[in-house]
Symmetry: D2
Subunit: 320 residues, 4 copies
């Protein structure tokens, strides 16, 4: 929604939306020189939005904010910069190899799940053993966002399907699904019907493809189920007949837009989950950083900035 | 969704979905002969649905229930009947003249609002004085359900619009809106655009008309706003383009189906609100029972059972 | 805790902690000349306390606030004054005869119950019919605060005992208990044991007497039960042996201090409950204002300001 | 509270309250031969307690349950046994070396924190960046329970003090505090006063020592702060004067008993945190299992079953 623009009074801006840095100097005792920190990349003007005032600009109603390296604020592609400690999240050095994965989308997804679980406190959504183990979720889209969302839902205890239209799946996808115990699903017009028959308690759309899929995602919801829309559909329209709405109403279903996150609590949660995954899914964790490029390898850097490769999850640029 | 059927083993059933009765005999000390009670008309088989087990069959996932006088259970149009105290709600004799209004839809609406407020606990939705006074709601449809929903939202502190396509409004509608401080709004294609510009934090659909309206209801939501679908759309389809979904996602909006209620907590809440309205809106309260018919006036009873009159909110059948 | 002091720069202050006024002039369209309003009497400096920033100074952590007519702010005993609309609560003219009862303590009690129900969302506290009808509460102290607390808990559906040491109860107490269906209980050392055997899900202390009672109040809690302390104990000490704590821990009990309220949402809720009581408990409602004095009757005004009479609930001073 | 007793109809019982086992045969597709599982050791009869019916016997109000190897149910010190899958929690083989730590107390503590955070949803308890990083907690007692509680609170983002009366701390304690960034505090009569001046948002008692400490723990609470009692005090009494209660009430403080946990959701959360700790605090994690004994080393097994060694956190008995 927001178009790029430089900081006030300038006609250019420093790039760099995601970063990990090293503390050089600090007057705050919580941050010691040598420690790793990650800056928050979306910040609010605060003003009169109550959610912003209490540290939750992800629920900003004022629609006023800046994005590092994109909207009204310089980014982090510099050797040194100053920042307010309230926008810095500490990174345990033991997981510095994977910490960059805590950046969006993963931090956004932490917030998405937090929000979905909050919505579902409208009734009892846990199972007869108090866990989510009896709940079935499906994530549409198996790109970076879809894969991370599926891993996160598995971590919360859900039975998780991950669906796309590729057949067979990329080798990386198949290996991740296998180690993490995800069900890989190749949907086609026919197989959407199978999904409708099966029924899901939670449906997540990360495709960013045609809006027409949304009608089908609504139809595969079980009673009390939720459809979370994360990916911005980029074309098309959903044509939803009255009887689909009748069943939606009757089943107490919810559709919710869940994209905005990336605040300190979600960065911290993302770092926690990454540390956990490193122990229990060591293979998966390695596959999540699909490429490491040196900042000095100009050609590769430019290439990575310009386009996603197939199967790309996260590319790390190293400042040696 | 549920088709009428008699109780097991019978090929007929007693009518009577809503009722108020007088206790004749009781072994439960909480119910004394002479007291007024209202029976719950939808009941669950309970079984394995956790929400049913804890007294909330309005969130039943098993889809197994009976409805008095409609689905698998005799109704209350008899002189005497026996019931389990857990399905009886006490009615203060001081409000017996209006108590029948606590039946659906009002009891359903109590649950709808309870659920919407639960969903909105995902962030801070109250205003800078801790109330809902800064939040703007609109109810589409000004029939019985729409009118009661609007009154209830006003009671919770919202600024409330009530919208329909009639011009001018019926006399009763206008007087209710006036006494209760509702904004009466006659929408047309043009004026929907005005509503979109204005923006609403809460939109409620009670029309039961064409599904095509839903697309516009989505577009008038402000950031963090909720669309609650109560009325079953009876025809048509909603055609929702991708950019409408983009804004929906970006604004963290929710669409939720909110129809099932009518449980003891909601009956009790409905009786509380009616007692309150009787004090603060005496004129409105009188207008809510649009007709009283004697059970002996066979012709009028049949007429009332067959069709709704224009402006009808609740018809009371009296057993003198 | 707070000692009286005049507003900054003055060595005197206007009295008048509670009031109802009439709008004379207003630039805010929500307030029209002639309408009744009630001012909020405790206000926060806001500053850095997040709860204050979102309109909930009742949870202020900064301990910075003013109290009208008492601490750092002039009161309302004047013919005209100006106020910010955000500190004014509208009063329906239909209940102007009893509206003053919405002032503390009733508005404080609304907040107390809201907080207790919030705490008890840590598990399922509602009954198998979704209400609180199976939960047993006891209020210690049958003064103004105790009586109003008991009526409020009854309104929420609890079975309610009200306990004091007077025998027989005052005539007014007995009549209120009778009409509202409260169980009046005269406790003595012996009968505290009876209460322990019976067990209560919710215990409220409003006595403001000796702290020694608290030990017994803890012991009458059932599993998952809560003790809410509202009255400031004014003498003595509680001697609580280790085995009482063992049972407290084992039963997942809670003790919580619940005194601070009186914010717009609680004033509004108090007005709603008063309107409801006026319909369902007309006799009780009349008894809650125990005396009406004319402002011109100087002798009676001084007497009322100086000391409480036995059985006093609320005294109204009328400005004819 | 519960005294040991054999299963119905027997006069002996198999020992073994905590265990990890290997699936040999299973008809449930979620459990495959060779996988590791951990049995739940406290189980409810369910019956009429709503919390039990929905899988939360940790909030049982019926006080009917069995404890493996202790109360009415055989334990796990056998070569083979059968169990219902709903009482089995899967253990990732990657963390089998430390998985036994997910047993109580850690699983109990997961529930304790979940409950405290639920109670604190009564207001905004997160900081101006949405995390708990500005909240200060102190854990009294540095035994197994205290150490694990402190680590868990640190994981949730709190600033954490751990307090005992030993000086200097044991070597293991000091190293754990150092790696995890805990503040080690040796309290004496004087230094309790220092703690009162500092103030804490969360105080946890795990000492199981004299009840007299509780009075001081109450006094170090900041406004809105909570005291969680986990350890059963084993002697003495708390003498709490009226003015301590006045401040408690004024500050909206809470005391809560938080001991019962050990259900599947808490086992799963404990396993997640252990996996995370293994990555970020590898040294700490190793120190948490203070001894490994072979089941064939009869002398050592008997010794470990009879008494705790100083500094003991968890002893693992290996079935080679």
């Amino acid at each position: 929604m927001a178009t790029s623009r430089p900081p006030p009074g300038k006609d250019w801006l420093v790039l760099g939306h995601e970063a990990i840095g090293i503390v050089e100097e600090s007057s705050d005792p919580r941050f010691k020189p040598g420690e790793l920190v990650m800056p928050v990349n979306r910040r609010s003007y605060e003003g009169h939005c109550l959610n912003c005032l209490v540290g939750r600009p992800d629920f900003c109603e004022a629609e006023e904010y800046v994005e590092a390296g994109m909207v009204g604020m310089d980014g982090f592609m510099v050797e040194y910069y100053y920042d307010d400690p309230k926008y810095l999240v500490k990174v345990p050095s033991e997981i510095k190899d994977i910490a960059i994965l805590a950046q969006p989308p993963l931090s956004d997804l932490e917030k998405s799940i937090e929000e979905i679980l909050a919505i579902q406190r409208r009734f009892i959504w846990t199972c007869d053993d108090g866990t989510y183990n009896c709940r079935r979720a499906i994530v549409f889209g198996s790109g970076a966002t879809g894969t991370l969302f599926a891993l996160l839902l598995k971590t919360y205890g859900f039975e998780v399907y991950i669906a796309n239209r590729r057949d067979p799946p990329l080798e990386g996808e198949a290996k991740i699904a296998d180690e993490a115990g995800l069900v890989y699903y190749n949907y086609t017009k026919e197989s959407l019907d199978k999904l409708k028959k099966l029924g899901f308690d939670l449906v997540i759309d990360t495709t960013g493809a045609s809006a027409s899929l949304i009608r089908h995602e609504i139809e595969i919801l079980k009673p009390n189920g939720v459809l979370g829309l994360f990916g911005f559909p980029s074309e098309g329209e959903a044509v939803i007949p009255y009887d689909v709405f009748q069943r939606f109403i009757y089943k107490a279903n919810v559709v919710v837009g869940i994209i905005n996150g990336q605040k300190p609590p979600h960065f911290q949660l993302a770092l926690s989950h990454l540390a956990q995954w490193k122990s229990v899914w060591p293979g998966v964790t390695k596959r999540l950083i699909t490429k490491v490029i040196s900042i000095n390898d100009e050609k590769e850097v430019i290439k990575a900035l310009n386009a996603k490769e197939p199967g790309e999850i996260k590319v790390k640029i190293k400042w040696d």
